[in-house]
């Protein structure tokens, strides 16, 4: 392990990830050290609805004022059709893939069963600097230019290890990226230093609500103006790391129009209960209930801009598509050796067209999903409209991602149905790409 850590450190430092430089060797830092792992297991996996009030969490306060909000500049496009990632993107996604395959994958099954990500993994992930990717450099961020595509490549790489753990690792990054993109100078000064600091807060973007045909542009959670601030009420579903969340960005209708609000977990009136699901269980999904939660005027993001809200939803969909691509890649790489080794009727089952064609179709649809997701992110980076591309990427990730998950199990037959192999987990996880809204952001 020390050697591996060294490799990651070297690479990350080489590409200017200041996080690792700061944290290298500080593996003793474990902010979850006080909580016994067994206790977390019981809490996370509990089937009984234990609704508790959120109270844990730090106080967020601006240490210094900003004159104006900081934004990452955009990369200038070369104008050529090109599928070559930048050197930085290549190194970054390779580092993250190493981490995903060496750390996340072996921990995935237990984390899935326990409905919680090991604290040590989250710390390591924080040290990788995931929450710093979207933060402007002058605020301590790690990457010079704004790049949704870089976040896509990293998300894809992480999910190749495990989707649930990837969601747990990436959830705080959704909040830091949102604040970087749309926060005003005070919001940035108050919250962003924590996301580039020594203890990254557990944070999450809460959009989904618990009902069929949910449409993020028609929210039931709502905020009304009161005493110069807002009063928030409603329910948010399948929020990653809800129970230990210290900071949330919550989607709520303000005077009939969807908007984003910053909500600290210490605000009174927020209840949280575990909401384990079919998959992405390592993300400790939970349900948040807001009952007349009083928010300051400064909690509203971007003055309730409709454009900002739509962009937030679209970037979230791209993120989930990227995760589906990563898991799809994991399925493909798992079934290929399996069907070549497994024999039936005297020869490898890979010699049968019905089996071989299923593998072909996984590869074809996976590549189509990947390219469509990249295009959506790349358009976002170039300042072009990307609502269409995000919607198409989501549709592909939902539909073909589901099929890839199903085929992954099918190709292993009965062996695919038991927990000896990871394909049953990927089957469950991949369904999330068609269900989830918010939670993540690229």
């Amino acid at each position: 392990m020390p050697r591996q850590q060294q490799n990651l450190t070297d690479r990350s430092m080489a590409i200017g990830l200041r996080a690792l430089n700061r944290f290298a060797g500080s593996s003793v830092v474990d902010r979850f050290g006080l909580r016994d792992p067994a206790e977390r297991f019981l809490f996370g996996a509990s089937k009984t609805t234990v609704r508790t009030a959120t109270s844990a969490g730090r106080t967020f306060a601006a240490a210094q004022k900003l004159a104006k909000p900081a934004r990452q500049p955009r990369l200038a496009p070369s104008g050529l059709f090109d599928l070559t990632p930048t050197d930085e993107q290549q190194m970054l996604s390779q580092s993250v893939r190493d981490f995903a395959l060496q750390r996340l994958r072996p921990a995935a099954q237990d984390a899935d069963a326990a409905c919680v990500a090991p604290a040590e993994l989250l710390t390591q992930s924080d040290e990788l600097g995931l929450t710093m990717i979207g933060v402007p450099e002058e605020l301590g961020g790690a990457v010079t230019e704004r790049s949704a595509l870089t976040a896509v490549l990293m998300s894809e790489a992480l999910a190749q290890g495990d989707m649930g753990l990837a969601v747990a690792c990436l959830a705080p990054a959704a909040v830091s990226t949102a604040l970087s993109l749309w926060g005003d100078e005070d919001q940035q000064a108050t919250y962003l230093p924590e996301f580039v600091g020594e203890r990254i807060p557990s944070a999450s973007l809460a959009v989904l609500e618990p009902r069929p045909l949910f449409n993020p542009f028609r929210l039931e959670t709502h905020a009304r103006r009161s005493n110069g601030g807002y009063v928030l009420s409603g329910v948010k579903s399948l929020v990653p790391r809800a129970a230990d969340g210290e900071l949330f960005i919550v989607a709520a209708a303000l005077e009939g129009h969807p908007a984003l609000f910053i909500v600290e977990a210490t605000a009174g009136g927020i209840a949280v209960e575990p909401e384990p699901a079919m998959g992405i269980r390592a993300a400790s999904t939970g349900r948040l209930t807001f009952e007349d939660v009083e928010l300051p005027a400064s909690s509203l993001i971007a003055a309730g801009s409709a454009e900002v809200y739509a962009e937030c939803i679209q970037l979230g969909r791209i993120a989930w598509s990227a995760l589906a691509v990563g898991v799809g890649q994991a399925v493909l790489e798992y079934v290929i050796p399996y069907v070549k080794e497994r024999t039936a009727f005297g020869e490898p089952i890979a010699n049968r067209q019905s089996v071989a064609f299923a593998v072909s179709n996984i590869a074809i649809e996976l590549e189509g999903m990947r390219l469509t997701t990249y295009r959506a992110a790349s358009r976002a980076d170039q300042g072009k409209s990307f609502a269409r591309e995000a919607a198409l990427a989501r549709r592909l990730a939902s539909e073909h991602g589901m099929s890839i998950g199903s085929d992954g199990v099918q190709l292993l037959g009965g062996h695919g149905y038991v927990k000896e192999h990871p394909v049953e987990r990927w089957y469950r996880d991949l369904r999330a790409a068609g269900v989830m809204e918010g939670g993540l952001l690229v």
């Binding site: 050529l80 059709f81 070559t84 990427a393």
Partner: protein, 409 residues
């Protein structure tokens, strides 16, 4: 740097192709669908324009002729500082899709732009390029007893002095009656299997090449589909494309590498038809009061809107796979896998989109009053020629699984 937008420098080319499609193809679509086997004379003028564009070197044309192997793009190629090239393979895919948005049958009848031209461009030597350049070349592979299994073809080629003597029967030769050259696949020695298969350029007016009949088809009726009999058909030995040696390992691979270039082109044809269907259907649905909303989840919209979104998503995937395959060819990256993936996805998606659009538009889609029913008939061939869906899946599977053709049949 990753960018999946069409490069701006191809704007003029695509604009010209679109204009051609809108002004010449579309108005003549129904006419030549009904008048099967009639020569679409409106295209002669276009061919002259396209050839002018090729020779001018500004950009390659709308047809298959410009497809080249591995980074050697001759027309309109340019590289950025990192060495990325956007060349003739990408230009061809984009312009073919645009022209097929107009009419795929007429594209296949475009003088000088046959699939045989792509084969010549891919494997011909300099002398042959000189001799055959500018001529319209069709491709003759399929036989009554050998379709997808092209290694089993029975047509033979025997060296006799300075000439090869060809004997056999070829069917389904696109533009076979109208082309000036036919690229014929034949075996130098049937006992040596696929390694002995070579391609030969035969002049259309060769007395040993006899037209048997023209097919009546489901679609692409503007394009003639010819069946030939070759009886003691003599061609100069310089008309053999590639190496005359029977090399056990390399031989057939050389012939097959043509497909790496032509499969993305056929995928592009399917993209053109699919986009025509989607645009027409979007408009008709709009008239019927159905709007497509990219922000609302499909399940929260009407079934028609949700279906449209599903079709458009698969179109997008097929399109980007095709651009990827062409981009790889432009940059000298081996693309057999991506070419077959693109062809498989675009072929099946084109047919699926066209047929579903017919149903979405109901009687308007099914009747001859619109072109949707015609596009649905045209689309089907694109999942068959240049390798059927099943052949593409086989190619992809063999590459992914590392299986030989004897292991994975």
């Amino acid at each position: 740097m990753i960018n999946l937008e069409v490069p701006r420098k191809f704007g003029t080319l695509i604009g010209q192709a679109h204009q051609m499609a809108a002004e010449i193809m579309r108005p003549n679509s129904r006419k030549y669908d009904r008048a099967e086997h009639a020569y679409p004379k409106e295209l002669d003028m276009l061919a002259a324009v396209i050839n002018g564009m090729n020779e001018g070197g500004a950009l390659s044309g709308a047809g298959a002729a410009g497809a080249t192997q591995g980074g050697g793009s001759k027309n309109g190629a340019s590289a950025d500082p990192t060495g990325t090239r956007n060349g003739s393979n990408l230009a061809n895919v984009l312009s073919i899709a645009e022209v097929c948005w107009g009419d795929v049958g007429l594209l296949l009848s475009m003088p000088g732009q046959g699939l045989g031209n792509a084969a010549i461009a891919a494997v011909a030597n300099e002398e042959q390029l000189q001799r055959f350049g500018g001529k319209w070349a069709a491709m003759a592979i399929t036989e009554p007893e050998a379709g997808s299994d092209s290694a089993a073809i029975r047509t033979t080629a025997r060296l006799d002095g300075d000439e090869y003597v060809l004997n056999g029967e070829k069917i389904f030769v696109t533009a076979g009656d109208r082309a000036e050259l036919i690229v014929v696949w034949a075996s130098l020695d049937r006992d040596q299997g696929r390694a002995a298969i070579k391609s030969f350029v035969v002049e259309r007016d060769n007395p040993g090449l006899k037209l048997d009949r023209l097919e009546h088809k489901l679609g692409i009726r503007a394009s003639d589909t010819a069946n030939f009999v070759l009886s003691d058909c003599r061609v100069p030995k310089e008309n053999l494309l590639g190496s005359p040696e029977i090399e056990a390992k390399q031989g057939f691979a050389g012939v097959m590498q043509t497909f790496d270039n032509t499969r993305p082109l056929v995928a592009a044809m399917a993209l053109g038809v699919a986009r025509a269907c989607l645009e027409e259907t979007r408009e008709r649905l709009g008239e019927a009061g159905t709007r497509i909303d990219y922000d609302a989840p499909p399940n929260a919209q009407s079934a028609a809107a949700a279906e449209f979104l599903a079709l458009e998503a698969d179109y997008e995937a097929a399109r980007l796979l095709t651009l990827e395959a062409a981009w790889m060819a432009d940059n000298g990256k081996p693309n057999s896998l991506q070419a077959s993936m693109a062809k498989a996805k675009a072929g099946r998606t084109g047919t699926d989109i066209a047929l579903r659009c017919v149903a979405l538009c109901g009687a308007v889609g099914y009747g001859e009053g619109s072109l949707l029913e015609k596009w649905a008939r045209d689309a089907k061939i694109l999942d068959i020629f240049e390798g059927t869906q099943q052949i593409q899946l086989l190619v992809v599977a063999r590459l992914l699984l590392g299986k030989s053709s004897s292991e994975l049949k």
